[in-house]
């Protein structure tokens, strides 16, 4: 019982989930490409002359995205310079294989490729991290690190925009996840087609309205070369539930994905005014955008380097306690910008991106930080961020006092590449006790040039 294409006389090859209509291969290509083009133009994602990094993992979405960006850029003369940007998490048997796919894509699409690795940025590969912490929370590390890694890679390339392969199913899934997690701030952001427009490198999702099924079909019919193995470290059961729910919903009502995105868009404008939202500040240590004093990556890295890998997992205030940061919370909520910076012996924050020294010196200060056991509400902490940031200089000044203990440092100064990209100096060999001036310069560069958004939509 052949069904004929809704647009021409040929035989239909697939049923579109979005509309229920049947299309032949050629018409499907046309409609698929036209829709992505329409998304790009109607949301004004790019300007002529911009350089754009395509986040490429070798998987289906990013492979189709690279193919389409190249195609549409030529067909509609967007006037964009395109790069492929990959993150090497250091997962043997998974990422090394998928990177091969990306390298083949590079050849096929004749696009320059940049690979940034966790090892060079953080001093740790995911394999090493998993050896430390086991399989339970490794995805938290990977997710947090990847977000920053993409941004840093993009900065090294000097691009104007990053495009990611997040498709409609991903956006819908994230809406569901954020509701289940009660994360109202992310819920508000996650349906935006462009995130991080203020001073950061904006990220765009040209596939926001593109169904996963159509991406897979497109890749299959076009015989695109993609890598399709699940990450060996990702047994993320909870997200799996959400995903299964989504697929089940889709089988009940095929428009569910778009309906959920619609709901998400509506909800993003209807958050009550009196709901406390985390204000985006910047990490006191590395300058990356953060809603806490230290960004998640720095806390996680600190934990790894100190042999306390669980540090960043769990309640934020516990990590603060362990880092000797807590008393800032206790005092700042009342004294505002006049507060003293926390433990003076803990001056490790002066080094951008890298977490290098043992802060055990500040453990003795835990006593005075016990006054905020209730301050777990991240919103409370947000209020102090402004003042917090203003004291960064002071922290740097006290750096000399730090009994910086470099033996706990794992690998070289973790983010030398990032630093190089930012300040232009090659301090790959600089020991962890970076020169103060440099550190401050970097800090300034970070503070001014970007406030990298939280893109984990």
């Amino acid at each position: 019982m052949p069904v004929s294409c809704g647009l021409c006389e040929k035989r239909a090859m697939l049923k579109r989930p979005k509309t229920g209509g049947a299309l032949c291969k050629e018409c499907f290509y046309n409609v698929f490409e036209a829709e992505v083009h329409q998304t790009i133009t109607s949301a004004s994602l790019f300007k002529r002359g911009e350089t754009v990094a395509i986040a490429a993992s070798g998987g289906k979405d990013s492979t189709v995205l690279a193919h389409l960006m190249k195609l549409l850029n030529e067909r509609h003369d967007y006037g964009l310079t395109l790069f492929l940007l990959s993150v090497d998490e250091g997962i043997t048997g998974y990422r090394d294989d998928s990177l091969e796919t990306v390298k083949r894509n590079q050849q096929q699409y004749e696009l320059p490729l940049k690979v940034v690795s966790y090892k060079e940025l953080y001093g740790w590969t995911m394999d090493e991290i998993v050896r430390q912490i086991g399989l339970k929370n490794n995805c938290t590390f990977c997710g947090v690190f990847r977000r920053q890694a993409l941004d840093r890679g993009a900065m090294m390339l000097g691009v104007d925009k990053i495009v990611t392969g997040h498709n409609a199913d991903d956006v819908a899934e994230t809406v569901i996840m954020n509701v289940l997690r009660g994360d109202i701030a992310r819920l508000q952001r996650c349906t935006a087609i462009v995130t991080g427009t203020e001073g950061a490198i904006p990220r765009c999702k040209p596939f926001k309205y593109t169904y996963e099924k159509e991406i897979v079909m497109y890749a299959y019919f076009k015989k695109l070369d993609y890598f399709s193995t699940e990450c060996i470290y990702s047994p993320n059961a909870y997200r799996g539930h959400a995903r299964t729910y989504l697929k089940d919903l889709e089988s009940i009502r095929s428009t569910s994905i778009i309906d959920i995105i619609h709901s998400g868009e509506c909800m993003s404008v209807s958050v009550k005014k009196d709901v406390k939202m985390p204000t985006q500040g910047t990490c006191a240590r590395c300058g990356y955008i953060s809603s806490n004093e230290l960004c998640k990556a720095c806390v996680l890295l600190e934990g790894l380097n100190k042999g306390l890998p669980k540090l960043g997992i769990g309640k934020p205030h516990k990590a603060r306690l362990a880092l000797g940061l807590t008393n800032t919370t206790g005092t700042t909520s009342t004294s505002g910008s006049q507060r003293k910076e926390g433990c003076q012996s803990c001056s490790c924050r002066r080094h951008p991106y890298a977490v290098v020294n043992d802060t055990s010196g500040c453990k003795k200060d835990d006593g005075h930080s016990k006054d905020d056991p209730t301050a777990t509400d991240s919103s409370i902490k947000q209020e102090e961020l402004g003042s917090n940031f203003s004291t960064v200089g002071a922290v740097g000044d006290s750096a000399a006092a730090c009994g910086c203990n470099s033996e706990v440092q794992k690998g070289p100064c973790a983010s030398t590449v990032g630093v190089k990209a930012l300040c232009g100096k090659d301090d790959r060999n600089t020991p962890c006790a970076c020169k103060r001036g440099e550190a401050q310069t970097n800090k300034k560069a970070l503070g001014n040039s970007r406030a990298v958004p939280d893109l984990d939509f």
């Binding site: 019982m1 090859m13 998928s98 392969g165 991903d170 299959y220 890598f227 399709s228 193995t229």
Partner: protein, 111 residues
């Protein structure tokens, strides 16, 4: 579940078809993507529905729930019959014909 592949027996109304698993679905089949199989003669014509039962009993190496749920494929696995979306072919009720190529693509892995 780990029964050895059925010996190919030529019977009246047995059907030779080609099965392909990709997008990660091959993981459940010992990483073998392409399977040329001969479905034994049957009193009823072979359908996708009965094929799934056959696959579950004869080909699936591990965790059948990741491939079949109830009497159909797990949500998120695309089925193509001779490169045509199975939704256009009657889904589970489609009757298999000689030399049909059935492709199962998982959409659930990576991106």
């Amino acid at each position: 579940m780990l029964s050895k592949s059925k010996v190919t027996v030529s019977m009246a109304n047995s059907v030779n078809i080609c099965l392909e698993f990709s997008g990660g679905a091959e993981l459940l089949f010992d990483m073998v993507k392409k399977h040329d199989v001969s479905l034994p003669g049957n009193s009823q014509p072979w359908t996708i529905k009965s094929l799934l039962v056959w696959i579950k009993e004869n080909l699936l190496k591990e965790r059948p729930e990741l491939f079949v749920q109830g009497d159909t494929v797990r949500p998120g696995i695309l089925v193509l019959i001779n490169d045509v979306d199975w939704e256009l072919m009657g889904e589970l009720e489609y009757q298999l014909e000689e030399n049909d190529r059935i492709v199962f693509i998982s959409t659930l892995h990576g991106g």
